[in-house]
């Protein structure tokens, strides 16, 4: 039994079926990369896992417990499942430190002092400690994204979902953010990430899934997918990526 099990998940917006029966297992300490064109359903799948979107049918289980459908304590689920968004989504009216301590103090009920210590340690580890009092609008995109990662980590999630977290960054800022993710992967954090950074996926992924039009077209080790794609659609997608210079 895998740690995160996604079983036959369907998701429709009206008549538009975005996910057409996706099944995927993520083991503990595994890093699974979702690749695929825009609109292939990567983001939607991630948003379904922590219930920001309701699934139309299927089943999502964490540690054997079903976390989709009615009656699930979503707030508890989301404490276990952290997500980082493409557009950072920091709270602009709070300082960096307040952004990071909001979850631990409000949800875990951690005393302010301990929450600050935890936050400062995490900010230190991503090189953002000296910006603790700054407001998000004063930070670069890369800095904001590092804070957003820390904000999610501060809840000590058991699995992290990363939704194209470098897609909105200037090219020279991508490296800093990916370096953090690399460290998290080495530290054994279970992660499910959607990405356009093929080189990075190749390097950290224990499993790569190629999504096409709402279903998983091909999956395998990074080597299998990038070196020896079997499916024609995967080959086409990768050749387009190569042409655009991203692999």
């Amino acid at each position: 039994m895998a740690f995160l099990e996604i079983h036959e998940v369907h998701k429709s917006y009206g008549h538009n079926e975005v996910l057409k029966g996706v099944s995927l297992n993520v083991e503990r300490h595994e890093v699974v990369c979702l690749i695929g064109a825009s609109g292939s359903g990567k983001s939607t799948l991630l948003r379904c896992v922590n219930a920001l979107e309701e699934i139309s049918s299927g089943d999502i289980r964490i540690d054997g417990d079903t976390v989709s459908g009615a009656g699930v304590d979503l707030n508890a689920l989301r404490r276990d499942v952290g997500i980082v968004f493409q557009s950072y989504n920091l709270f602009p009216h709070m300082s960096v430190l307040e952004n990071v301590t909001l979850g631990p103090t409000r949800i875990e009920g951690l005393p302010k002092k301990e929450a600050r210590e935890r936050a400062m340690a995490l900010l230190e580890s991503v090189g953002m400690a000296e910006k603790a009092q700054a407001y998000p609008d004063n930070l670069s995109g890369g800095q904001q994204q590092r804070v957003a990662i820390v904000r999610a980590l501060a809840m000590q999630p058991r699995v992290m979902l990363l939704d194209e977290i470098t897609a909105a960054l200037d090219p020279e800022l991508v490296g800093d953010v990916l370096e953090i993710v690399r460290k998290l992967a080495e530290g054994g954090l279970t992660m499910l990430l959607a990405t356009h950074e093929m080189g990075f996926a190749k390097e950290v992924a224990s499993q790569v899934c190629f999504l096409d039009k709402g279903s998983i077209c091909e999956r395998g080790s990074a080597q299998d997918i990038f070196e020896n794609p079997r499916e024609e659609r995967t080959q086409q997608f990768l050749s387009r990526v190569v042409k655009s210079g991203r692999l």
């Binding site: 709270f91 009216h93 949800i107 609008d137 809840m155």
Partner: protein, 363 residues
């Protein structure tokens, strides 16, 4: 005909160098306008002095106004100097310098005209005030009437101030409650959403003065136990009920202007719907709606005057009593002045809040 032929020398000759535009006519116009302004101001000052029977203060004010009205002569002088310079430079064939002198001279003439226009307006207003042997001044600005009524007026105005302050606090709370009711999610929230919607529709439709009459006169009749409640509190209730409906709309606009990604980020941390509202959505919404909120508050402040119809002794009622006693509208003008004086700092205060918020967020 090909494209290159279109732009050939013969069809499109090179542009002629632009000539400096003339300065003297503009300067002369400015001079004429300034002289008219000065003349009007001298006339207005003499009227001011005559009306006050040659009192020293009026003479001094008049003199200052006349001196100020002389100001446009200075740029006019420089404009004429520039006109002369332009002519000299043109004779020397220094086209570029002549153009610059011309531009500077024309600008000076225009500055003079701008000031002269303001002087004509001020002098004109003064002359209107003293026309009809001081009819306007007498009706609206009789200083003896101000002196007589001032002590009572300022005490009455205190009522307007605290009534609006209390009502504003209540409106802030009740309006937010209504706004949140209107945004409750799901089928469970539907009945409350409907109630809030109906409330806002009804109380925005009823003129404030009607609500005030119904509440202040009606509540004591309907509930005899409230008969000896001070009517001013019922007035506050009526104003709160009316303005909450408006403010709820302002809040709602603020809340719905916040991008859904903020809500998603908060929920993804595990915050509940209520926690998300309280820590993420409402604080951001309030910052955004401060200017429109303050507009509504200024409006509320002015509408405290409507309490006069319910025989509550606020400043407008008091001014009307004085008006009846003195057969003079100056006390009412005084009430207007009071409202102006307390409104202006509030407008500046909002500007300050907006600036501070922008600075803190680094804009």
């Amino acid at each position: 005909m090909t494209a290159s032929e279109l732009v050939s020398e013969e069809i499109q000759p090179g542009p002629a160098p632009s000539r400096p535009r003339p300065v003297t006519p503009l300067a002369a116009g400015g001079l004429l306008f300034s002289v008219v302004g000065i003349g009007l101001m001298v006339w207005a000052a003499s009227q001011l002095r005559d009306y006050n029977h040659g009192a020293l203060a009026a003479t001094v004010v008049g003199a200052v106004l006349v001196v100020v009205s002389l100001y446009p002569l200075w740029p006019i002088l420089r404009s004429f100097a520039a006109a002369r310079e332009r002519g000299a430079l043109l004779r020397d064939d220094k086209l570029v310098l002549a153009r610059r002198a011309s531009a500077a001279g024309r600008e000076e003439a225009q500055i003079a005209m701008g000031y002269a226009a303001a002087i004509v307006i001020v002098a004109g207003l003064l002359l209107v005030a003293f026309a009809n042997s001081g009819g306007i001044a007498q009706t609206f600005f009789t200083s003896s009437a101000w002196r007589q009524s001032f002590p009572q007026m300022i005490r009455a105005f205190w009522t307007n101030i605290w009534v609006s302050a209390v009502a504003q606090v209540l409106v802030l709370a009740f309006g937010l409650l209504l706004a949140i009711m209107r945004m409750l999610p799901g089928r469970a929230g539907a009945p409350l959403r409907l109630i809030a919607l109906v409330y806002c529709d009804i109380f925005r439709a009823i003129p404030a003065i009607v609500t005030i009459l119904l509440i202040v006169f009606g509540i004591p009749l309907a509930f005899p136990t409230t008969a000896h409640w001070p009517p001013v509190w019922l007035g506050i209730l009526a104003l709160t009920m009316t303005y909450s409906a408006y403010v709820a709309e302002v809040y709602r606009a603020g809340l719905s202007s916040i991008h859904p990604s903020q809500s998603a980020a908060a929920r993804s941390l595990g915050l509940s719907y209520t926690q998300t509202l309280r820590t993420v959505l409402v604080p951001q919404a309030i910052r955004r709606v401060i200017p429109p909120l303050l507009n509504d508050f200024i409006s509320l402040q002015k509408d405290t005057a409507l309490l006069s119809t319910a025989a509550i002794a606020e400043v407008v009622l008091t001014s009307k009593l004085w008006e009846a006693q003195l057969f003079n509208l100056s006390p009412v003008t005084l009430a207007a002045a009071f409202f102006i004086i307390i409104t202006l700092p509030q407008a500046r205060f909002v500007d300050y809040l907006i600036d501070r918020d922008a600075r803190r967020r680094g804009h």
